[in-house]
C-alpha cells in the first residue's frame, strides 16, 4: 500500500516539474532555445526572429500558436509597430521600457520575468516577445480562436425573458454576467486547476452580500482539487459536492446568465469554468427544484400556479407508478368500484402481473428517452414512430399491456419534464424505479418507507454548509415567499436567510416610503 502511494507521489512530481521557476538568463539565444525546447514537437507553434525598432535593428523573437491568435491583430498591432515604429532612445531608460511605452499598441501586455510563465501565456493564446539583451519579455493577449456565438439556451428554454445563454469561452461568460451587474462589487476571482490542462476557473460573487464563510468554503474546495485535467463542469461539480452518497446533488448548474445573476444577488457563489457553457451555483437548496427563470417574468399568480403544478408533477413523477402498482396489487378496497371494474376489464386477458407490466413500460420509456438524447436528428422521427406505435399501440392490441398502465407511464414521463433543473430530473428518474419496486413488493407501507428514507437522505445533506431542506427545515417563513408560491416582487424584501445572513435587506421601496 505504502509503495503504491510513494509511486504516486513520484509521478506527481514529474508533472509538477514545470512549476519550478526559470528566470531569464543573460544569453538571448539560450532563452530562445529554452522556449523552443519546451515547445518542441508542437506543430502548431510558430516563431520567427525579427528586427525591431526601425533604424536600430535590435534582434527580437516572437512566439505564437497558430489558430489561437488573431492573425490580423498580430500583424497590425504587434509586428507592424515593432518593426516600423521608432522612438527617441534618450527618452527611455531601457529598450524594453521604450517598447512597452511607445511601440506595443495593444491593451493587455504583461511583462514576464520568468520563462515558464511566458510559455504558459504562449500556449494559452498569447504572443511572446523576447528582446535581445533584456532581462524581461512581453506577452500580449491576442486570443482569436473560433468560438460559438452567444445563442439561445438549449436546456432551459423560456417563453418570456432573456434568451442568451452561456458559451464555451469564459471571458464571454463573465462579460454576460458583468453586463447585468455593473458594479465593482461583483468580484471574479481566478483559480487555475488541472496539472496538465491548466483550466481556468472563476469564482464570481458580490462582495458585501456573500457570506465570507461560504466563499472561503467554495475557494478551499476548489483549491483542494488536484487532478491532471478537468474537462467538463460535471467533474468539478462532483469533486466539490457534499453529496457523494446521495442521488440529489447539492449544487446546480445553469446555462442562463439571468439565473446566475439572480443567484449572485441572493448571496450565492457562481463558479464559471473555461470551455463550459454551464456555470455552477453554490449553495443550492431544495426550493430550486421548482423555480424556473420564467417565474419572474410572468405575473406572480401565474408563476405561483406554475409552481404548484410543478410540485404536483414532481410528486406524480416520483410516486404514481409505485402507487398504481401498490394499490392495484394490494389495496383494492381503496379504489372506487367503477374504476376498479374498468381497470380489471382492461387487464383481464393480460399475461403479466401488474408490477412486471409497469416495470417494463417505465423501463421502455427510459430507453426511449436515452435514445432520444443520443440519436442523430435525422433518425429522430423513426424512433418516435417506433416508440409510439410499436410500444404503445401494438403492445396494447397484442394484449401485452393495458391502456391504463400506458396512461400512467405517459403521465409520469410528461411530469418528469416539468422539473426545471436537470440535476433533479436525473435524481427522480432513478427514484421512480425505487418507489416502483417498493410499491410492487410491499405495497403502500413500502412506498412510505422508501419516501421516508429519501426524506432522511435529503435532510442530512448540506450544501456548502447550508441545510439542503432549508426553508422547510430549519423553517424560515420569509423564504417561503419565493417557494411554492411566489409573492409579488414588492413583498420580497429580504434575501434568502441562509445565504445572506450579513446583508438581508433587498429592497426598501414600498408605497409611502418616500414620506419618511
Amino acid at each position: 500500500m505504502s509503495k503504491l502511494f510513494r509511486n504516486n507521489k513520484k509521478k506527481l512530481k514529474e508533472i509538477d516539474e514545470s512549476k519550478n521557476t526559470n528566470m531569464f538568463s543573460k544569453d538571448f539565444v539560450e532563452n530562445i532555445d529554452y522556449i523552443k525546447n519546451k515547445l518542441s514537437k508542437c506543430c502548431d507553434v510558430e516563431y520567427r526572429p525579427i528586427k525591431i525598432i526601425n533604424g536600430l535593428g535590435i534582434n527580437a523573437y516572437i512566439f505564437l500558436i497558430n489558430g489561437m491568435v488573431d492573425p490580423t491583430f498580430v500583424s497590425e498591432n504587434i509586428l507592424k509597430p515593432l518593426i516600423k515604429f521608432e522612438f527617441e532612445k534618450d527618452e527611455v531608460a531601457s529598450i524594453h521600457e521604450g517598447v512597452y511605452n511607445h511601440l506595443l499598441t495593444v491593451g493587455s501586455v504583461d511583462i514576464e520575468k520568468d520563462l515558464d510563465s511566458l510559455v504558459m501565456k504562449i500556449i494559452s493564446g498569447g504572443i511572446g516577445i523576447l528582446i535581445e539583451n533584456e532581462s524581461v519579455a512581453f506577452s500580449v493577449e491576442a486570443i482569436g480562436w473560433k468560438e460559438r456565438a452567444v445563442e439561445e439556451t438549449a436546456s432551459e428554454t423560456v417563453i418570456k425573458g432573456m434568451k442568451a445563454g452561456f458559451v464555451e469561452n469564459i471571458r464571454t461568460n463573465t462579460s454576460l454576467v458583468r453586463r447585468m451587474i455593473k458594479n465593482p462589487k461583483l468580484k471574479i476571482e481566478k483559480i487555475t486547476k488541472g496539472r496538465i490542462t491548466n483550466t481556468e476557473i472563476n469564482i464570481a460573487y458580490i462582495e458585501g452580500v456573500v457570506l465570507e464563510d461560504l466563499l472561503e468554503e467554495v475557494r478551499q474546495r476548489i483549491e483542494r482539487v488536484d487532478i491532471d485535467g478537468i474537462i467538463n463542469l460535471g467533474m468539478l461539480q462532483e469533486m466539490i459536492d457534499d453529496s457523494t452518497f446521495s442521488l440529489f446533488s447539492t449544487s446546480y448548474t445553469t446555462e442562463r446568465p439571468d439565473r446566475a445573476c439572480s443567484c449572485l444577488l441572493e448571496g450565492r457563489v457562481v463558479v464559471l469554468m473555461d470551455n463550459s457553457p454551464f456555470v455552477l451555483i453554490a449553495p443550492s437548496v431544495i426550493t430550486q427544484f421548482i423555480q424556473s427563470a420564467e417565474d419572474y417574468s410572468t405575473k406572480y399568480l401565474t408563476a405561483s400556479f406554475a409552481r404548484i403544478l410543478r410540485v404536483v408533477a414532481l410528486n406524480i413523477n416520483l410516486l404514481l407508478p409505485g402507487l398504481y402498482v401498490a394499490i392495484f396489487s394490494y389495496h383494492h378496497e381503496m379504489i372506487p368500484n367503477k374504476l376498479l371494474k374498468a381497470v380489471a376489464d382492461a387487464r383481464e386477458k393480460l399475461p403479466f402481473p401488474i408490477f412486471l407490466e409497469m416495470f417494463m413500460l417505465v423501463f421502455a420509456f427510459e430507453i426511449l428517452r436515452e435514445a432520444g438524447v443520443r440519436l442523430p436528428r435525422a433518425v429522430g422521427q423513426a424512433v418516435s414512430i417506433v416508440g409510439a406505435l410499436v410500444i404503445g399501440q401494438a403492445a396494447v392490441s397484442a394484449k401485452l399491456v393495458s391502456p391504463p398502465s400506458i396512461i400512467v407511464v405517459a403521465l409520469t414521463a410528461i411530469c418528469s419534464f416539468t422539473i426545471p433543473i436537470t440535476e433533479a430530473t436525473n435524481a427522480y428518474r432513478l427514484l421512480t424505479f425505487i418507489v416502483l419496486f417498493a410499491g410492487g413488493i410491499l405495497g403502500i407501507p413500502g412506498i412510505i418507507a422508501v419516501s421516508l428514507i429519501i426524506l432522511v437522505n435529503i435532510s442530512q445533506l448540506r450544501s456548502f454548509g447550508v441545510p439542503y431542506l432549508s426553508p422547510i427545515s430549519p423553517l424560515s417563513l420569509s423564504d417561503w415567499k419565493d417557494f411554492i408560491i411566489r409573492v409579488p416582487i414588492q413583498f420580497m424584501k429580504k434575501r434568502p436567510t441562509q445565504t445572506a445572513k450579513s446583508n438581508k435587506i433587498r429592497q426598501r421601496w414600498w408605497k409611502g416610503s418616500d414620506k419618511k
Binding site: 410491499l442 418507507a449 426524506l455 422547510i472 430549519p474
Partner: protein, 359 residues
C-alpha cells in the same frame, strides 16, 4: 465532530409526533375503558401533567444548559448511582420502544398488509428510523419538521369531515363516569405526557436553551388540544359504543364519506400515522442509543446503532403476545412504573441538585 444544533420549531415538531404517534392509536382505547363519556377530561389532565413536567424540564435545562440528561444525572447523584439510574431508564426505554414498534407494525399489518409476516413489517417500520438515527439528531429533527408541516393539518381535517356524525348528547351529563374513574383513566395519558422529558436529552443541541420551557409547553398544549378534539369526537360520534372499539380513530376515519367516488380515507390515515410514528421511533431510538453510548462514555453513537437495533427487533418479536394482552398491560401495569421514571427521575434530580446547591 461538529455539534448538532436543532431549533425550537424542530424540537416542537419532533416532540409533537413523539407523543402523538402512538397516543392516537392507543390512548382512546385506554381512556375509554374507564371513562368513555368524560374522556376529554383525561386530555385536560394530560395538559396539566405535561405543563408541570415542563416546568421541571425548564428548571433543569436552566441549571445545566450544556449537559444532556445522562451527564446531568451522573453529576447530581455521583457516577455510580447516576449510572444505575440511567441504566434503569435505558431498560425502561428499550422495553417501551419494543412495544411501540409492535404497536405500529401490528396496526400497519392489520390495516394494510394482512398477509405479510410481522418481521417484514417491523423491518419496513424500523429501517427509515435507523437510517435517520445513524445520521444524527439534526437529520431526525429536519425530517421531523418536514413531516410535521405536511401531516399536522391532515388529522384535523379528517376529524372535521366527521362533523355530520357528531351527536353532542353523547357527552352529557358531564362527570357522569365518577371522579375515581376519570382519575384512573388519566393515568395512561399522563404516562404519555411524561415522554416530554426526552427533551432533557437534547438540551445541549437546542439553539435557544432559555426557551426550552416554552417549547415543551407549546408541544404539550398542541397535543392536548388535539387530544381533547380527539376524545370529543370519539364520544360524540360513537357514544357508549366506543368502549368496544379496538382502534377508534381508524373506525372514525372509515366513517368519512363525503362523496360516493372516494370513500376510504383510512389509507391516508395509516400513511400519516406511519410518517408520524417514524418520527416517534427515530426519537425513541436516538435517545436509546444516545443514552447507551453515554453510559459507556462514548462520544460517537453510531457504533451502537446496529446492535441496539437488532436487540430491539428481537425484543419486539418476543415481548408482546397479542393486542388484548398489550392493552391490558398498558392499562394496568405500564403507568404505575412509567410515571415514577418519567416524572420522578427529573424531579428528584432537580430536587437533589437544589439541595446540593450544584451549579
Amino acid at each position: 465532530m461538529r455539534k448538532e444544533v436543532i431549533d425550537g420549531g424542530q424540537l416542537i415538531s419532533i416532540m409533537f409526533w413523539t407523543i402523538m404517534g402512538t397516543a392516537v392509536l392507543t390512548l382512546p382505547v385506554l381512556i375509554g375503558r374507564h371513562a368513555p363519556r368524560d374522556a376529554w377530561i383525561a386530555a385536560v389532565i394530560f395538559i396539566i401533567g405535561g405543563l408541570g413536567l415542563s416546568l421541571v424540564i425548564g428548571a433543569l435545562a436552566k441549571k445545566f444548559p450544556e449537559k444532556d440528561f445522562v451527564s446531568c444525572v451522573e453529576n447530581v447523584f455521583g457516577i455510580w448511582i447516576g449510572k444505575i439510574l440511567i441504566a434503569i431508564f435505558f431498560i425502561w426505554l428499550l422495553h417501551t420502544t419494543s412495544f411501540v414498534i409492535w404497536q405500529i407494525s401490528t396496526f400497519t399489518k392489520i390495516s394494510l398488509l394482512p398477509r405479510t409476516p410481522l418481521l417484514i413489517v417491523v423491518l419496513i417500520i424500523i429501517i427509515p428510523s435507523v437510517y435517520a438515527v445513524h445520521n444524527g439528531i439534526e437529520s431526525v429533527a429536519r425530517s421531523g419538521q418536514f413531516i410535521f408541516l405536511i401531516t399536522f393539518g391532515t388529522l384535523f381535517v379528517l376529524f372535521l369531515m366527521n362533523m355530520p356524525e357528531v351527536n353532542i348528547e353523547n357527552l352529557q351529563p358531564v362527570f357522569d363516569d365518577g371522579f375515581n374513574n376519570i382519575i384512573r383513566s388519566s393515568l395512561a395519558p399522563l404516562a404519555w405526557a411524561g415522554e416530554i422529558m426526552f427533551i432533557l436529552f437534547l438540551v445541549p443541541n437546542v439553539k435557544q436553551q432559555k426557551k426550552i420551557t416554552q417549547y415543551s409547553m407549546i408541544t404539550i398544549i398542541l397535543i392536548g388540544i388535539g387530544g381533547i378534539i380527539n376524545e370529543f369526537f370519539y364520544t360524540a360520534v360513537f357514544g357508549p359504543l366506543r368502549q368496544h372499539l379496538i382502534s377508534p380513530f381508524y373506525t372514525l376515519v372509515r366513517y368519512i364519506s363525503p362523496s360516493d367516488f372516494i370513500g376510504r380515507y383510512d389509507v391516508l390515515f395509516v400513511s400519516v400515522n406511519l410518517a408520524g410514528n417514524f418520527v416517534k421511533l427515530s426519537v425513541f431510538m436516538y435517545i436509546l442509543i444516545f443514552s447507551f453510548s453515554k453510559l459507556f462514555k462514548k462520544q460517537n453513537h453510531r457504533p451502537f446503532v446496529l446492535p441496539v437495533t437488532i436487540a430491539l427487533i428481537i425484543l419486539t418479536l418476543i415481548s408482546v403476545e397479542g393486542s388484548p394482552q398489550l392493552t391490558n398491560f398498558l392499562d394496568n401495569v405500564f403507568p404505575f412504573y412509567t410515571l415514577p421514571i418519567l416524572y420522578g427521575l427529573p424531579s428528584v434530580t432537580l430536587l437533589v441538585a437544589k439541595l446540593r446547591k450544584l451549579k
